[in-house]
């Protein structure tokens, strides 16, 4: 934990002008929005922020889609639940509390609320498998989105505004690192092995004493909790929430990250998340250079090319060394 705080302080120094770490930490300005004070331009700051959030999302989906073999198309729904619940609770009940307290409350509320929905859909939908489960989760996430759109307390169609912005780039990076470590630990432990077992041969897993339903529900709860964390990061760094962010397009983007990187590989999920976050921005440069509006065409073409050249994703089943699995 100390190592994480140390990394967080270093990242904070890197991304902000403040080098007075101890004083920072004392005053918890460590948690203030740093977009304006950052060493890097606000544009790059936003891109990196999105990158961090996307990596959290992609990593969390790897638990379901990659490790347990559950095809879900509603990950944006879990993210929305986490974002909206945490934002609502902090805004309504802790508007003047210390940022540190707000942060931990937001993370706890966001991940718990999302995992509660994960639990529900786990029990409701897990008797289905394959494409059918995909359909159920897709419908579920749309129900969440449309419901949020019609709840006035969270801003309805206008969106939710004035959310305190206490999560900065350093914090998102730190949280993303923690999420990666947690997912790695799960993957390498007995629960992770059970997930792979269920994915590869549910019947064989069942016959050596693994309850497949239990494993799947666990995966759902964990994955949705982490998606909720991503939602919290998004809400409290942007300061504004709109249901437009959480459409099924977002869910598909997260699936694409996993597939492009390599389904079943944690490193792949990270690489895919990074690729799909940075690619549009890199292509923006290309567009500026050529002066032709071909960004999204190139984006789609790149994805198609990757899938043709590397049908199993960029990394396939492989892992980077620091994320390698003992299993």
């Amino acid at each position: 934990m100390l190592a994480f705080i140390a990394i967080g302080c270093i990242l904070n120094m890197l991304f902000t002008m403040s080098f007075d770490v101890l004083n920072d930490f004392h005053q918890i300005s460590f948690l203030k929005p740093m977009r304006e004070q950052s060493l890097i331009s606000p544009y790059y700051y936003s891109v990196l922020l999105l990158l961090g959030i996307n990596i959290i999302l992609s990593t969390s989906l790897a638990l379901l889609n990659g490790f347990t073999g559950l095809f879900t198309m509603g990950h944006a729904g879990f993210m929305a639940i986490g974002a909206y619940t945490a934002a609502y609770v902090v805004k309504s009940y802790l508007p003047t509390a210390a940022p540190m307290l707000q942060l931990f409350t937001a993370l706890a509320v966001g991940s718990l609320s999302a995992s509660l929905f994960g639990l529900c859909i786990g029990f409701a939908g897990l008797r289905l498998s394959g494409d059918y489960l995909g359909m159920v989760t897709l419908g579920f996430s749309e129900i969440i989105r449309v419901s949020l759109l019609n709840i006035e307390a969270v801003g309805g169609a206008r969106g939710m505004t004035d959310i305190p912005q206490f999560i900065n780039l350093g914090m998102v990076t730190l949280i993303a690192l923690i999420v990666i470590i947690l997912v790695k630990r799960i993957r390498d432990g007995r629960f992770g092995r059970a997930m792979f077992a269920v994915k590869e041969n549910e019947m064989a897993a069942n016959l050596i004493g693994i309850n497949p339903l239990e494993v799947k529900v666990r995966a759902f709860v964990l994955s949705s909790a982490l998606a909720g964390v991503a939602g919290v990061c998004f809400a409290f760094s942007e300061g504004y929430l709109s249901t437009q962010t959480f459409t099924f397009v977002k869910s598909f983007e997260i699936i694409a990250m996993n597939v492009i990187g390599g389904l079943g590989s944690l490193s792949g999920a990270i690489l895919g998340g990074a690729m799909l976050s940075l690619l549009p921005e890199v292509l923006r440069k290309v567009q500026d250079f050529t002066g032709v509006d071909i960004r999204m065409v190139l984006y789609a073409l790149t994805m198609i090319l990757i899938m043709i050249l590397r049908p199993k994703g960029l990394l396939g089943q492989k892992e980077w060394k620091w994320l390698s699995s003992p299993n």
Binding site: R185, F191, A197, R218, P326
Partner: protein, 261 residues
């Protein structure tokens, strides 16, 4: 009774198809049983009923004196029935040792939080289950493959690995579905020796389905013969070999029923 497992007039129908009809058999602890019969005789469905994959249409299934008919497969596995499959079902993307370690899942005591925080309890459990997996692999002669991917093993070793995995939950009854299928004569001999060793050293009751008659006659103390879903004979190897009904089932009696093996 002292039966470890018992089927009492067990029938399994799929619509009009009688997969098993009024099958009764008893297994005593510590013995090695064979289950033979022509293709489609209903041997594997008996395994499926014993392990909870199918619930019997009628009749009783008892294991350790407890009725297990219709119980979920993972619950029956935890009670102590292990099995292997006719078509190998390994977790091919996991390493050999991880395949065996998955079988310790139900005995695990660490919870998700232990795992997330990598607690001492979690680390200790991981270490001990790795050690136990290595012991089982050593028993099956696969220890030098521990870190290989299961899918990369040659066929014969995959069969052995499946047995090692089935031994993971420390079963009292082990069901082997054609363990020698696809093996060459040397591998079959090795496997035969292993099954004998397993039954003697670990005192596990074994019921095996096999088409290799020499293997069956060599090691099985008692043999059940199925044909068309019904139990047509049971007894020691010599009795079975001379039983006219068994000969008829395997070789056919006249042209209309002729069914070669």
């Amino acid at each position: 009774m002292a039966f470890i497992a018992e089927l009492k007039e067990m029938s399994l129908y799929f619509g009009g198809l009688k997969a098993n009809h009024q099958v009764s058999l008893q297994l005593f602890p510590g013995k090695l049983y064979g289950l033979i019969g022509p293709n489609g005789a209903g041997k594997t469905t008996i395994f499926n009923v014993l392990t909870g994959v199918y619930a019997p249409s009628s009749g009783e299934v008892r294991f350790l004196g407890k009725s297990v008919a219709g119980l979920a497969p993972y619950k029956i596995a935890r009670l102590g029935i292990g099995r292997t499959f006719q078509n190998i079902r390994l977790f091919k993307q996991l390493t050999v040792e991880a395949n065996v370690m998955t079988a310790f899942f139900s005995q695990g005591e660490s919870n998700l939080l232990d795992n997330l925080f990598a607690s001492q309890r979690f680390k200790r459990e991981e270490e001990s289950s790795r050690k136990r997996a290595h012991e089982l692999l050593k028993f099956m002669g696969l220890l030098n493959h521990a870190k290989d991917l299961a899918g990369s093993l040659p066929y014969g070793k995959q069969r052995k690995l499946e047995i090692a995995r089935a031994l993971g939950p420390a079963p009292k009854l082990l069901l082997l579905d054609e363990p020698a299928a696809g093996l060459n004569p040397t591998e079959t001999r090795e496997l035969t020796a292993l099954i004998g060793k397993l039954q003697q050293e670990k005192n596990i009751t074994v019921l095996l389905i096999e088409h290799d008659m020499r293997l069956v006659m060599d090691i099985c103390e008692f043999i059940f013969v199925l044909d068309n879903g019904e139990l047509i004979a049971k007894g020691k190897a010599q009795e079975i070999q001379q039983n006219p009904q068994v000969i008829a089932a395997y070789l056919g009696v006249d042209e209309s029923e002729g069914e070669g093996e």
